[in-house]
């Protein structure tokens, strides 16, 4: 499973990506909002872990851009505060779930797996 971790905190994004790799995922990291769409196009990840708060762009906008170029990609938002308004907006824009930072890696894995399997179920549902 290919995962793209997007966060302006380089250390966070790269370390999380490395840890996910250690757990058998094909994870890579992006640190700038403008790189995200290109990387999605280039690597076509199954899951994007997207920080809601990026200095050069709003997380919701990136989410929409990602959903535009890759509608089937599962996006899980990373948030510092879990503001319900923002979370609701993200969900409305196509985010599958959200995880609060600092991340509990086991919780994250559960949410990824759940979201992906949900997404696959929907795909199957639409296919049949």
């Amino acid at each position: 499973m290919k995962i793209l971790v997007v966060d302006d905190e380089v250390e966070f994004a790269s370390t999380l990506a490395e840890r996910l790799c250690l757990r058998g995922y094909d994870a890579l990291a992006a640190f700038k909002a403008r790189d995200v769409v290109d990387m999605v196009k280039e690597h076509d990840p199954d899951v994007v872990l997207l920080d809601l708060k990026m200095p050069d762009s709003d997380g919701i906008h990136i989410l929409r851009d990602v959903k535009d170029v890759a509608p089937r990609t599962v996006v899980i938002m990373l948030t510092g505060h879990g503001d319900p308004d923002v979370v609701n907006a993200a969900t409305a824009s196509g985010a599958a779930d959200y995880v609060m930072k600092p991340i509990n890696i086991d919780e994250l894995r559960k949410k990824i797996n759940k979201a992906v399997s949900n997404s696959e179920n929907i795909d199957r549902g639409t296919n049949t």
């Binding site: 905190e9 250390e11 966070f12 370390t15 999380l16 490395e18 840890r19 250690l22 757990r23 510092g80 505060h81 879990g82 503001d83 319900p84 308004d85 609701n88 609060m100 930072k101 600092p102 991340i103 890696i105």
Partner: protein
Amino acid sequence: MKIRNKLLLAFSLYLFFATAFGFFAYRELGTITKSLKYVETADDIGYTLLEVRRFEKNYYLFRNDRNFRELIDQLTKLKSMIDAMHNEFIKELGERNYALMKKTINEYDSTIQEVSEIFTEQHRHIISLSDYAERIEQELPGNNLTVFHKLRGHERDFLFSRDAEAYARFRETAMLLSLAESRSLQRYVLIAERLSVLFEREESLTESLRSKAREIQSFTKSLSHTEREKIAKVLDNSLKLLLISFILIIVLGSIVNMRVAADISNPLRELQEAAKNIASEIELEPSSIEGKDEIASLQIAFSDMEIRLHETLNSLDLAIKNLHEKQRQLVETEKLASLGTLSAGVAHEINNPLAIINEKAGLMQDMIELSGDFPQKDRFMAIISAIQHSVDRCRTITHRLLGFARGMDANIELFDLHSAIEDVLGFVSQELALKGVYVQRCFSDSPLSIESDRTQLEQILLNIIKNAIDAMHGGGSIAIGTETNENQMAVITISDTGAGILPERINRIFEPFFTTKDKGKGTGLGLSITYGIVKRLGGEISVTSELGIGTTFTVMIPLKPKAALMQQIKEGG
């Protein structure tokens, strides 16, 4: 001009009138007294003159010495009276008149002296006449005697009537007798003739005496009359003066009185109006002040105003106190809000490095787990675990702080407050039992239905009850009371028998990071979050505490959610 001066002026005016009138009256009275004295003197003189006339008449009637002496005595008295006359009286009479009067009296005196002499001579002659007649009767011959008797008859007539006619008849008869024959007859006829002269002289003197007496009388009479007229004139003038003064006092006095009264009462009335206006401005019931004078009305108006001012001041005091309380609450709320914002900002900033620490520690853990055994591998794992534990604590703090700042979704439902309290007590039953804390329920008539967010309300109660349990060492009791107040709010009081909070700390109890608990035992966020939730639910929270006795939290939550909260929920949905 001051009221005192106005009154003094009015009084002075009256005093002036009274003094002027008094002065005139005194002067006139003096004139009258003087005139009366003159009249009296004139009357005295007149009376003495009358006495003189009376004795004169007596003297004429009896012609003896006693009567003459009496007459002279009266005359002397009259003269001494005239001599003793006061200069002013003389002036009043006129110097010339006075001298004339004196002269006339003296003339009268000399005349009466002359009359007296004549009387004496007459008397002497009459006696000698009679003597001669007796002698003649003896001397005369018979036929002549008859004539002589006839003559004696005429003599008696003459002596009785004393007029010229009777004398002429006497004389005629005497001619019939031969005078040469008798020397006595000659003397007799001569004496009769002398008497005739004396009678005539007496008559003229009497006439002059009377005219002089009348003259003197006329002086006194005219003086008396003049003085009486003067008195009448003065009295007339006084009456006029009195009348004029009376009219002046009435007219001028009325004007002055009215002016002064107006000058005094107008400002008083204005003051009263002002007092009334002030009183009405401060919603004072108008008092019934009819039928009293201005000062009484003013007093009433002022006392009303005073009462009202007192009331107003009291209500102002209360309003200021309320305002201060509101301000204090507002400042508290503002402080808490800004502290919340600041805390949230800090929490958010800390959250990112915390997330990195967490990832790095996680990565280290992953790497150690994947690598083979190496010296002190367990020790490394323990250290990493401690780091992760600390990160977890930090995460709790930052998430709570963020929650305090942003709020949560409210999920409004209708439920029984008492059952919610029981649920909370259920959560902490083990802790209560462990610490030996007894719970006392003072619930209102059950159930107490409330429309609010049950979870958040339970969170509030849980935080407070947990604090209460923590505050009690070695057992105690928690009293939970419920009731509804007139503002349609559920009032929940939670009292413990714990250590209590220091007065200087009680005001800070809802501030984030403020804790009375031992270090590491509390984040200092529980009550600030509780405060945030209460505010979000449209409620109020307050705390009172007494050291050594315990602490009471009072939470008030609306029985129905407020409009703002409903709006928030709608937007959230």
